[in-house]
Symmetry: C2
């Protein structure tokens, strides 16, 4: 066997975490707070079925759906991104500056192809989304975590680390962050945009949960404060439409989009047409607005059930984040309990979560007493039962 | 703007060729022999519409189609690849050694992530498929072209270049090659598999056109001769099912598939579920066999029309390949005509092709008198008209 590329050794440790994460999602005997999926019951199956029945005919869009398509993505869908998802959020977007990608995460991959050489530094939240950390590691970037407080990433620490490490990018999930559920306030969003301009650094804004808000007032994205084109917006249809359709988009200045498009050609030519067309029709028919209301209602109930269950079952000294939206909360266990070690026992008791330490890019052993819990694809009843099991197990360790 | 990664400068020249290629496909006023699309009229639109109507309900596979799916791909589809596409061709395949990818080309990208470090050598046919050359360049591989004769790549030259350059991979399109339409005979397929074993080199077999055979006897793939697991099979549903669905597969030994799966997670998590499910149902219902017959009948007629038109309209001294299948022929012009320069004039006369020089990875100015012509998505009438225009233009230059 010829030698593997060096990049594989950089990603090995994180790859192991991710394999565990994907593996945990598929055991039906366990109540899993582990995955990042939205509620299956709230997926727009009926609307999609109706649209497929009507538009997949030869005389409508059947040939378009099956034949090769444009590299940047279906024009109609790029217009929808600009008009319905970005402009109402204060981002002055042109469809020509939007590239449709194969799931929101593909943006991180393509952006690394365009900007990252081995050894380049990427600053990220600490903890950050482990899946993106793996992408950065595959490109042999050096990921350095920045401090977070209860409102998210701490701007002073970001600025100090920009000055010290000269990063290519700052990667942030500003809204209902993965894994913590925290949301960055408006003044910090503006400050991040200004840091990008001041230090000539890309601010990579990963914002897939933005529309899943159950309480509190909406905030403008970081990109809405950007005056110099240093912010790259990585958006996704996974939470607001369908994860399995693997649809995301990136909005950035023309020069960056042009290079991302070349990298897209050299990655997989273009995003699948069938999901793009069905998604575009879904928005064009005005189904999105009602669907989003339903989606938020289902997830709000689950968020509330999770908060109530944490209150009810977690032993004293446990801390957790109250998320205003999204799919996650972040739990800190008391008494030096190791969440990674506890997981095996938890699974034997029929409940699972993701241990926290994998989410720290620096790999200095932080977050050992932490767990990410998702309330997205579990019913309120499952949350009640699962958290009771988990609380009992944790209490037994104190 | 922060500095772009160095890899972008390696791919710039090829990226320009590809942008032109994709651009040429979209001008409706021109009869284009440029693209690589199969006949729109032969796409299985009616079957897909029927399947979508039946299976995209909540009580059937609607939720599966919209929710996150397994990283390796839908199990049913991997079984179909093993049982219907590989085993009948002499490849003893296990569904666990198959990864479903976002179009056949994604395999080249993922395989580079796994094996290629900057400066590594990849041997390829000369000319080779320009799109893959761009992928190799994005990974800063050094592409070295091997000689071809009328039967395809010359084994003695491959062996000499393996000894001289110690490549990581040999990239070949053995059946109805892109761009030449040539097919590698059985003894050379066996010899390539043996070179992989002998020199510990990956033989990357890109075989998307295999089933589109219009004349001659079928040949076993290179992988069927492999006894040591050095061959990686890059398959595709683009030509036999639907290009826009972006579905391909890779079959290789377990160790390689494991690393490819990690790279897939770090590229786009998994391939879109909707196309996978519709494609799997298409095969499960037995529609493939009849569809393939129809597909070959349509393309055979176009191949024959193209061969007749070349005979009728090309001036003396022009040479071309008679392809037994696939979508392409390769034309060598007489009298030192520069096909790249001629293209502008050709477009003004309402006909397009792809100039040959872009297909040579070595970039030494070879193939200037060559063109790739596709008969896939043009009718016999368009072939007649377009080739008449082209022949007249070429004759006027002699």
């Amino acid at each position: 066997m010829p030698e593997f590329a060096k990049r594989l050794s950089y990603m090995e440790q994180t790859a192991e975490v991710l394999r565990g994460l994907f593996g945990a999602m598929s055991d039906p005997s366990i109540i899993s707070f582990g995955g990042g999926a939205p509620a299956s019951v709230a997926l727009p199956v009926e609307q999609l079925h109706e649209i497929a029945r009507e538009v997949l005919r030869r005389e409508r869009r059947g040939v378009e759906a099956l034949q090769y398509g444009p590299v940047p993505g279906v024009r109609q869908l790029r217009e929808i991104v600009a008009d319905k998802l970005l402009k109402p959020n204060g981002v002055d977007a042109d469809p020509d500056d939007i590239l449709i990608v194969n799931g929101g995460l593909e943006t991180m991959n393509l952006l690394c192809q365009v900007f990252i050489s081995p050894g380049d530094v990427i600053l990220c939240e600490s903890p950050s989304f482990v899946h993106c950390v793996e992408i950065f590691e595959m490109f042999e970037a050096k990921c350095i975590g920045c401090e977070m407080d209860e409102h998210g990433i701490v701007i002073e620490d970001v600025e100090a680390k920009i000055q010290k490490h000269h990063p290519k990018m700052v990667y942030v999930i500003p809204t209902f962050q993965n894994p913590t559920g925290k949301t960055l306030p408006a003044e910090r969003r503006r400050a991040l945009a200004e840091l990008g301009s001041k230090y000539d650094v890309i601010i990579l804004e990963d914002d897939p949960y933005r529309d899943l808000r159950y309480s509190g007032a909406p905030l403008l994205p970081i990109q809405s404060y950007d005056r110099t084109g240093h912010t790259v917006m990585a958006g996704s249809f996974s939470k607001i439409f369908s994860p399995g359709s693997r649809l995301g988009y990136v909005h950035a200045r023309k020069e960056i989009i042009a290079h991302l498009t070349d990298a897209k050609i050299a990655t997989n030519s273009h995003t699948a047409m069938l999901p793009q067309i069905l998604c575009a029709e879904f928005f064009a028919r005005g189904y999105f607005e009602q669907h989003l209301k339903n989606l938020c209602a289902v997830h709000r109930e689950r968020r509330d059930a999770m908060m109530a269950a944490l209150e009810k079952y977690m032993p004293a000294g446990t801390k957790w984040v109250y998320p205003d939206g999204g799919l996650f909360s972040w739990v800190e266990l008391p008494g030096g309990i190791d969440a990674t070690e506890l997981l095996k026992e938890a699974r034997a008791h029929g409940v699972a979560y993701i241990a926290g330490e994998g989410f720290f890019a620096d790999k200095r052993g932080e977050g050992k007493n932490c767990m990410r819990i998702s309330f997205g694809n579990v019913t309120s009843e499952q949350i009640e039962t699962g958290m009771q099991r988990l609380g009992k197990l944790i209490a037994s360790k104190l």
